[in-house]
């Protein structure tokens, strides 16, 4: 079957949007930028849905599995006869799923932005960056090989940088953009080296070939990878761990999570798209892509599990203390991605991707809802909000749905996927299960803390608002996403997407769900007690916790630690000496050579006094000397 002709259009249309709006955004399309961008992504979304329909329902399974098809492939950069970076479009269940998610959420964000960014001076720039991001993200999910994914990986990174720094005259936004880029760049270094190692031993970059070469029985590439070691650890583990570091950086996993909360300086719809639904799950997607390879190395899987579970827990705890609503959501994103990763680490491939899928909808809904709130009230601070349910009914209801979904209340989407993950944990690693269970309670608590603080609590003190809840362009995406957050949980996900693509359908026993749901309800109840009405209890609780509260409030002092390392150690310890050595030692050597030459010439110069008489004397002396030589010694 030939998908190529239109699938290529799915990423290319947003790219066209980027180019058109980037080049001609100023004059002809300044006003219509939003419409143009949205129209292009709308077509992309339709095509993506059509592709999904074609793939899952028309083409269907072959030999019991959904086949992986390369819709297009060409050589982009040839290294050596066997090794090249190719560009292609890989169609398999995971990529089709991501295709739908990315285009759909992107479309919603495009529509939402029409209202949200109205009157913005650089609207066309905004939409062109959104187009660039969507293109890169689609390229990432459709990648056929590990280097292609790296290329688009970097591109999503830079579009994230551009969008976080969209309000470029705010120093905080600039700092956040830089931080996001540099932290992920650092992680990408691991990714790159991991690629180099894998490519060298397996001789290929292509996902399919790579997996096949490493997993076939008696694989020589695998034997080599496991045979060689560096500092006592097999090269294979190094490669996978380094790849995972790349993924962890992009997915803001502990301890590389510090960039994501700051990234909230970008426009809120951007946070919904990039920092909630799509780019940050790239790390999960990367591990999922190479899942058959990761499975071969148990220590790395354990690393993934524990990084995931620690991130899930710590981020959830931090989220309880934050007062900026977007930061709460950012930490909750980290926490949820932590879930996806430890699910992967515990062989829960389907559960992980299912959670990725549902999370995309309810988390982008939460962000867009937060965007609507911020648009209405012009602040991010929870303390300045309250009682908004009266003024923003649509936002209120949709936000509540999203909160229930993330808290894991049936029958909302998050419930189903989270149950799958918890079940995986229960079956494979009990300690992880208990931490995850506790985390899900905390999740429910901080989400409803957020919900009550925004929509209930104290009545709004000053309402300067004149424009109402927002135009339909903002409400419509909220409603659509809320609908999605309700229904997507019912999709029989395992039927479509599963590890090794062997459908592993199983039902979750009702009894298993009791504990998680009870935890969630307990969390909600606690939040209700503390935040439903304005009262002193939260403050008292915080005081009672004392140092612990401060520690969490300051995000475990990670930022300070990083600042110390970068400012004190790297800047003062490495960069400054390097610059000093260059200026004084290396350049000093060169200048010293110059000075030595000058000095010697100064000495010689003195001989040339300008007085003719001394010249004559030298001349005469020379003659006498020569005469002496010729008369007495050179008689031969």
């Amino acid at each position: 079957m030939n998908y190529a002709s239109y699938i290529a259009l799915i990423p290319l249309l947003p790219l066209a949007g980027f180019v058109i709006l980037g080049l001609f955004g100023k004059k002809p399309f300044a006003r219509s930028a939003g419409v143009i961008g949205t129209l292009l992504i709308f077509i992309s979304t339709l095509l993506a849905l059509y592709t999904a329909y074609q793939y899952f329902f028309v083409a269907g399974k072959q030999h019991g599995i959904y086949p992986a098809v390369k819709a297009l492939e060409f050589t982009w950069l040839q290294f050596s006869p066997g090794l090249s970076i190719d560009m292609g479009l890989l169609i398999d269940p995971a990529s089709v799923m991501m295709l739908v998610v990315v285009t759909f959420v992107s479309l919603m964000v495009h529509i939402f932005s029409i209202g949200y960014m109205k009157g913005e001076e650089r609207l066309s720039t905004y939409y062109s960056f959104l187009g660039l991001f969507t293109f890169s993200m689609l390229g990432l999910v459709l990648s056929t090989n590990i280097f292609q994914i790296y290329i688009f990986w970097e591109l999503v990174g830079v579009s994230s940088f551009l969008l976080i720094g969209f309000y470029y005259d705010r120093p905080a936004a600039v700092a956040a953009a830089k931080k996001a880029f540099i932290v992920t760049r650092f992680a990408d270094l691991g990714f790159l080296i991991g690629i180099l190692i894998l490519a060298f031993y397996s001789g290929t970059l292509d996902f399919g070939t790579l997996i096949q070469r490493l997993t076939e029985p008696g694989s020589s590439a695998l034997a080599q990878l496991k045979g060689y070691g560096f500092i006592g650890i097999p090269v294979f583990s190094w490669a996978l761990a380094l790849l995972f570091i790349g993924g962890a950086g992009k997915s803001a996993m502990f301890p590389l999570h510090i960039w994501l909360p700051d990234a909230m300086e970008g426009p809120t719809p951007v946070s919904a798209l990039i920092h909630a639904a799509t780019m940050v799950v790239a790390g999960v997607y990367l591990v999922a892509r190479l899942y058959p390879v990761f499975v071969l190395d148990v220590p790395v899987l354990q690393l993934i599990t524990w990084v995931g579970v620690i991130s899930a827990f710590l981020a959830a705890v931090i989220a309880c203390t934050q007062t900026d609503i977007k930061r709460v959501l950012a930490y909750s994103t980290i926490s949820q991605i932590g879930y996806m990763l430890f699910a992967l680490g515990l062989a829960g491939y389907t559960a992980s991707l299912f959670h990725l899928f549902t999370h995309a909808f309810f988390k982008s809904l939460l962000f867009l809802g937060a965007g609507a709130v911020i648009h209405y009230i012009h602040t991010n601070e929870m303390g300045n909000m309250g009682g908004l349910r009266k003024y923003m009914p649509v936002t209120h209801i949709t936000f509540l749905i999203a909160c229930m979904a993330i808290a894991g209340i049936p029958p909302f989407a998050g419930f189903f996927s989270k149950e799958e993950i918890l079940l995986t944990a229960w079956q494979n690693n009990q300690p992880v299960y208990y931490i995850a269970l506790l985390t899900s309670g905390i999740t429910a608590f901080y989400m409803f803390r957020l919900y009550f603080s925004i929509f209930w609590n104290k009545p709004l003190a000053h309402n300067h608002n004149h424009h109402g809840e927002g135009p339909w362009s903002m409400k419509f995406p909220l409603l659509v996403l809320a609908l999605a957050a309700v229904v997507v949980g019912f999709i029989p996900f395992a039927h479509y997407i599963s590890a090794g693509q062997q459908a592993a359908e199983h039902t979750i026993p009702i009894s298993f769900s009791i504990a998680p749901v009870a935890m969630a309800l307990a969390g909600i109840a606690l939040a209700y007690m503390l935040y439903y009405k304005q009262n002193e209890r939260p403050q008292k609780l915080a005081t009672a916790m004392g140092g612990l509260y401060r520690l969490v409030r300051q995000k475990f002092y990670f930022d300070e630690l990083y600042l110390f390392v970068t400012k004190k150690i790297i800047f003062n310890g490495i960069a400054k000496p390097a610059a000093w050595i260059d200026k004084h030692l290396v350049d000093g050597l060169m200048n010293g050579l110059g000075r030595a030459t000058t000095g010697i010439s100064e000495r010689i110069k003195a001989w040339q006094s300008g007085s003719v008489q001394s010249y004559a004397l030298y001349f005469f002396g020379g003659i006498v000397a020569l005469a002496a030589v010729f008369i007495y010694w050179w008689t031969g």
Binding site: Y168, D169, F181, L189, L196, I574
Partner: protein, 489 residues
């Protein structure tokens, strides 16, 4: 139509420039010459492409005339894929450089004359197949720089001009020793004394001789391409030079060195190159890492770019030192990419400087607001420098890394990893500069906000110059296959 026209055209332009008077005719003549040259370069590319056969014929479009018979010196030119790439680079940078200096008032005739002369030297260098001719053109490409910096420069221009000229002349002297060594060892290897590169490549110079003369040639050319620790002319020279001269210097001149290291030192003396490769790699790695860290501490935009050039040219040397096919291809890609990128960067810095009259990062900020075009150019150059996919820097660096990794030795791997690590440091210093100068609140030292707000954006000439270079960068970055196809041997 012959290859020699590549040298003759700039020569005609230079002579025509001398006959002109006044700024207007001068710049029109200079630009016309450069554009004609660019078109002709495309034509040569086409000819090369058509005549190309993969049967081991190394050089195409050859021309060979006796120049000085007693010493067997020939005027011998020809091109292969690598030189073709360098010729295109030179043509692009020359046009851009002339466009950027459009408004130069001081001694404009002489300025454009020297620029044209420089480009002629570069063209001649890249097409020479005779070592003596090569050296001849190398010298032509050195001397005008001294004048360009000394007369039209800024800051400590006399010092910088002198430093640059002396260090490059020192490099030339070493190169000459190396070339003479090659020339005189051709006889011991069983031939006549010859400067002909093709013949020397066939001869296999005895390894002992190679071991003696390789360091001379390599270090000599290395000085041109900022080989650590002979790189210190780079920051001073670039920062004092006028914009166009900086572009030429970093875009073309430093590539003369890289090309020489590859074509003369490494390919003519392969045994010695193998023997010394660890030293080359060591120095290159030091240059990459240390240049990158030193860049972090710079406060002047031109110094930032100059130091980053040291780091980037380290990749060229690293690729050459690694001696694998892929790594050498990466080195060539990096030369082309760095040439375009750094020329673009210097152009952008020059444009900023012309308007704000300062290059100190601390003194300017938020320029995206008042000069969006220039700011965008700056951002593109910066992103290319930090190796963003879709722009040329990425392609080149990745090819070098892949090629380097083919060496299974642990130390070589370590060098590769360190080189990879430099891309993080690059991101740090590029983003720091970008975040301050382009983004953030508007600020121009010595001007009120109102005055700063009134600063103009790029003129047509600057837009054309930047556009030309950006097209090159994106063309390589988006579709690298045509370039690798061209330089593949």
């Amino acid at each position: 139509m012959s290859l020699s026209l590549l040298i003759i055209l700039p020569l005609i332009t230079a002579v025509a420039l001398l006959l002109c008077n006044g700024l207007k005719p001068v710049r029109v003549v200079a630009l016309t010459g450069a554009v004609v040259q660019l078109l002709y370069s495309f034509y040569v590319l086409l000819m090369y492409h058509n005549q190309r056969v993969f049967d081991g014929t190394p050089m195409l479009l050859q021309e060979n005339h006796v120049w000085f018979a007693p010493l067997n010196i020939h005027y011998h030119v020809g091109v292969d894929g690598i030189s073709m790439a360098m010729i295109m680079l030179t043509a692009f940078v020359t046009v851009a450089g002339i466009l950027v200096s459009w408004k130069i008032e001081k001694l404009s005739k002489e300025f454009f004359f020297l620029l044209t002369l420089l480009s002629m030297g570069a063209y001649g260098f890249f097409i020479s197949l005779d070592l003596f001719t090569l050296f001849f053109f190398l010298e032509i490409a050195v001397i005008p720089k001294f004048l360009l910096i000394g007369i039209w420069g800024s800051g400590r221009k006399e010092y910088s001009a002198m430093k640059l000229a002396l260090m490059l002349m020192g490099g030339s002297a070493l190169v000459f020793v190396g070339l003479a060594g090659l020339y005189f060892s051709t006889q011991t290897a069983g031939g006549e004394h010859t400067f002909n590169m093709l013949q020397i490549a066939q001869l296999r110079i005895p390894p002992e001789t190679q071991l003696i003369f390789f360091p001379f040639a390599f270090v000599g050319f290395g000085i041109f391409t900022a080989l650590f620790p002979f790189h210190t002319w780079v920051p001073d020279g670039h920062s004092s030079a006028p914009t166009a001269a900086s572009m030429f210097l970093a875009g073309i001149s430093m590539k003369l060195g890289g090309y020489g290291c590859l074509r003369v030192a490494t390919l003519l003396m392969p045994d010695a190159a193998h023997a010394y490769s660890w030293i080359i790699i060591l120095l290159a790695t030091v240059a990459i890492i240390y240049g990158a860290f030193a860049t972090m501490m710079q406060t002047d935009l031109k110094y930032i770019n100059a130091y980053s050039s040291i780091s980037h040219c380290g990749f060229v040397l690293l690729g050459i030192g690694m001696m694998t096919q892929t790594a050498i291809m990466g080195a060539v890609l990096q030369m082309v990419s760095h040439g375009l990128m750094t020329a673009l960067f210097f152009a952008a810095i020059g444009m900023l400087y012309e308007r704000t009259h300062t290059r100190e990062v601390a003194q300017i900020g938020g320029l995206l607001k008042v000069m969006p075009f220039i700011a965008t150019v700056f951002v593109i150059a910066g992103l290319c420098s930090l190796g963003l996919p879709g722009l040329s820097g990425f392609v080149a660096e990745v090819t070098v890394f892949m090629g380097s990794w083919e060496n299974a030795d642990v130390w070589y791997r370590l060098a590769t990893i360190l080189a990879c690590a430099s891309i993080v440091v690059t991101a740090v210093y590029i983003l720091r500069a970008m975040g301050k100068v382009i983004m953030g609140p508007l600020q121009v030292e010595g001007a009120s906000l109102q005055q700063a707000g009134a600063l103009g954006d790029a003129g047509w000439n600057e837009k054309a110059a930047a556009g030309l270079l950006i097209i090159g960068i994106i063309a390589i970055g988006v579709a690298p296959f045509w370039l690798t196809e061209l330089i593949k041997q």
